[in-house]
Every structure is written in C-alpha cells, then in structure tokens.
Subunit: 195 residues, 2 copies
Amino acid sequence: MSQLKKTLLGSIAPLMLSGMLIAQVAPVNASEADQKQYARFTQDNELLTPRNYREWMFIGAQVTPKDMNDGKPAFPEFHNVYIDPVSWAHWKRTGEFRDGTIIVKELTGVGAKQSASGNGYFQGDFNGIAATVKDSKRFADRMENWAYFTFDSYDAKKGNIQDDEACAACHKANAEEDMVFSQHYPVLRAAKPGK
Amino acid sequence: MSQLKKTLLGSIAPLMLSGMLIAQVAPVNASEADQKQYARFTQDNELLTPRNYREWMFIGAQVTPKDMNDGKPAFPEFHNVYIDPVSWAHWKRTGEFRDGTIIVKELTGVGAKQSASGNGYFQGDFNGIAATVKDSKRFADRMENWAYFTFDSYDAKKGNIQDDEACAACHKANAEEDMVFSQHYPVLRAAKPGK
C-alpha cells in the first residue's frame, strides 16, 4: 500500500467515524434540548429575571383596563402571556406542564381606545412582568408545585417570590388547568392532545 | 515516525478540515434560512392558507368587542397578530419588512368579561384569520406592495385577495410603519433597531 493511499484511508476512516459520531450525538442533543430549562435560578433558589420571553410561545392575551376596574386593576392592563418553547412542546405532546415550565405574563398599558378597526382596547407601552414556575422538586412545598414571582423592574436581576396566598390560592380556586387559566387561552386549549 | 503516529496524524488533519468545512457551510445554511418564505402560493398567485402561524412571532393583540361596536365590529373581537419568524429576524436587524413578509391576524371571540384578575375582556374561541403579504415583485401593482387576504374558513385551501380599497387604503392612511399598525404593537416597536 502506498503512503498516499494509507494517508487517504487514514483520512476517510475518521470522517466516517465523525459521521457516525454526529449520528449518535444527534439524539442525545435532542434529548438534551427536551430538558432545556428556561427558568434559571441563583444559588439561593431565586428566579433570575426571564429574558427574551417575547420570542417564546404566545398563549393568550386579555385586558383588565383601568376604566373597567375603578382605575386600579390588579394587573394593568393588557396581559400578554408566554410559555417557554420546550414546555410548549411538552404540552402539545402530553397535555401537561412539565417540571421547569415557566410562564411569563407581560403587562402592557392601554394606548388607545379607538383605531381604524373600531372601538376597543389597543396596546400602548409595557408595564412590567410577572412569572410562574412549576417544579416538583424545587417547589415541593408550594401549592401544586407552582411558585409565583413579581419583578421590581425590567432591570431587576431576580424576582420576588410570592406567598401562596398572594397568587397560588387564586389560581388554584379559579384556573381550569393545573393552576393555569386555560379558559382564557384558546391557543393552549387547541394544542392539547386529543382536542 | 511509527505507523500508529502516522495514522493518528491522518486522523486529526481531516477532523480539523471537517471542522473548517462546518464553519464554512454554516453561513450558507444561515443564508438559505434567511430566505425562507412562509407565504406560499398556488401557480395562479393565490395565497395558500397559512398554517402553524400560532408558533410564529406574536407581535400584539387588541380587542374590538361587539359591545363597543354596536354588535358588529369589523374584526370580531380579539386580534392576535403574528409575523413569520424570518421576517421577524429581518425586522430586528433592519427595522424593515422584507419581501415575503407575512402577517397573520387571528380573530378570537370574547369569552368572558370578568375573571379572578378583574373586569375586562378575556379570549374565548377562535373566529378565523386574515393575512397580509408584502412582495415587491409578486404584488408590484399593489399599494406599497402589500396584498391582503381573507379566508372563508380554517379549512379553506387558499385566501381571497382583497381590493386595495377594502384593506390597503385604510392601512396606508392610519398605520404608522409601512402599512403595519405598529402604534398598537409594543413588541414590534421595542425590537426595532435603534430603539
């Protein structure tokens, strides 16, 4: 065998091996992707402020305007609600919220009540975010294992965990699907398996 | 040099080359991804009904309720608005809507006017979709190169193109950003370069 031929064989074999490695690695990566966590925490179990959530999966919007709530709605005013993409994929597959599910509610003021499309409520500027995370290990002592967080500002590094009475109790009493107000989220309902 | 050492060297070089190939191929793939078109047409230039748009990029929601529009809003009632992901990436990079941009407006009825979060408007069930596509070649004769489509149902295979007077004229007169009502879309505004 010539030296050239040996070198070529030496070149091809690892390329094939490399190809095999890619083929073998891919499923591992897919599995890792399935496990990706969007809720990130400090060492003291404090939720880091979610970022880039506007590019997650939108599941619904509602509006509780000031002028329908004596000027002081609990959550002013539009609520744009997002779920992280891996938990969304899990929901579509199982109809359940996985451990690690994070849902962000972004509040937006009413910017106008009239536009070319008619009378109504139209979004103005952002008012801040709130978030909830489900985790049966991290939040084993929380109601249905969901913890709720407020944030002092968009610049806050981390959230403020809320007592169960502040958020969870109301979700438990009124939300239709595992503490989530699916009754207001047609996008979520339509994607549930078997629907 | 031992045979083993030669083989090892032969193994390393193509792996390095392979790494270089990956590095060179990636931009080509990225470029192809940049060109991906989500608006798809029949041979007769009719827009095929968009699918899977709920997993595109959400840019805003407004509500024109029946009870604020004499029972007959032009678009009943919530409008959930989505842009295709590649046009979204282009918007973030350039602040412009590329050729091929498709924006889908999904209408959703008001399901409730009261919930645990207060009084307001809460989404019920889907009412159908409308869409608009910008294309300077395909729609060279359309106002600002945007064409507007309605759909008879979710099952419709294709859309019904609308006269400029039906949709485009109003968008031209009232929308703040290239025929798009960005004044109602804080998500869109916040992502514009330089904002």
